[in-house]
Symmetry: C2
Subunit: 212 residues, 2 copies
């Protein structure tokens, strides 16, 4: 296990991680090793602000990623995380679903990215007319290991295109969101973050947590 | 958990499954829900014969299938099975690896079969010149939950072709083994079973178990 932030908690809280309530704030642990995702979650859930009841800390632990439908993958991730720490947690999983392939690569997209890259993704669909795809982000929230798991799914529809724009973030350059003429990779971060699959999922989580 | 055979043990042994040694035979539990695979394992390991020290029983339990390289997938399956029963076990996993896709779909082949079928597999490679593929079967054997896991890998090289032959067994109709002009689906069972990825892996397991 390792922290991915210099300070394991939000900057406006102290560093006491031994319990989940501190200064009237509830700590939620986001299981991630990705600092960008952590900042995005904090930003959208507004946990950096003083008037929120929540504070997000992060923990980078390996969670098993099972095979199956995205909903099953995230469920198993959450159950595994809850076995390792008993307190409010959020976990996240993202799929890139090609409609021509019945939703695949879906949760396996990271393996396809690694093995065949952006050009390879395009080649996969060469034999198919339908180039529509969906970016799907699911957050799971569980208050403690005995409580119900809540799921929050954000979907952004789009089309698979030749890579364009910033090549630094996974499949962003090949994802052209419906109604836009720029790929995720070409968009300003603020634009992308206002329409993205992850943003939509986090909006639902935010409503659930009663954050205004 | 359920048995997939009328009799949970080999026919030449009694039905005492409470221990792993009976009539001087060592029982090995093959975790599978597939009766054909069970019969193939028994046939190749010759456990139906009186002069063998082993007897294969089967157990149909759900094992988590994780994402990752085939070697990791089978390792996790074996570890999970060993947590559920402590005795000699074998588990198996099969991948179909497209060389143009860096080995994918690999362990995810069953999901691709389910979602896009045989024609879909061919369409996946339409953009690629290299149609060579490998069928890879890995058996894992573990004597008890504290002992080392042993792996036995059988690979049969081939080419992905349009579906031909018997359509009843997964991707058999699109697998044309190197050096043959019939797909697995067109071959007599005896021929296929003498060159197959599963046969090769089982031969290695057989040698390991000192079965002649």
């Amino acid at each position: 296990m390792k922290d991915i932030t210099d300070n394991n908690t939000d900057n406006n809280t102290d560093n006491n991680t031994d319990n989940n309530i501190n200064n009237n704030k509830t700590f939620i642990t986001f299981i991630t090793g990705n600092r960008n995702k952590l900042e995005e979650v904090r930003s959208i859930l507004k946990t950096n602000q003083e008037n929120t009841h929540y504070s997000i800390k992060s923990l980078d632990i390996d969670l098993p990623e099972v095979q199956g439908e995205p909903e099953y993958v995230i469920q198993e991730k959450c159950k595994s995380a809850s076995l390792q720490l008993n307190g409010p947690i959020i976990v996240e999983d993202t799929s890139l679903c090609f409609n021509a392939l019945g939703g695949l690569p879906g949760p396996y997209i990271k393996w396809f990215m690694k093995k065949i890259g952006l050009d390879g993704l395009n080649k996969l669909l060469l034999g198919y007319e339908d180039k529509t795809i969906e970016a799907k982000c699911i957050f799971a929230y569980q208050e403690n290991r005995d409580s119900q798991i809540h799921y929050f799914t954000g979907i952004t529809k789009g089309t698979l295109v030749e890579p364009r724009g910033n090549m630094n973030f996974g499949w962003d350059p090949v994802f052209l969101p419906e109604g836009y003429n720029k790929t995720y990779g070409e968009m300003a971060n603020e634009t992308k973050n206002s329409i993205s699959h992850r943003f939509k999922a986090l909006q639902l989580l935010k409503e659930f947590l009663n954050i205004e």
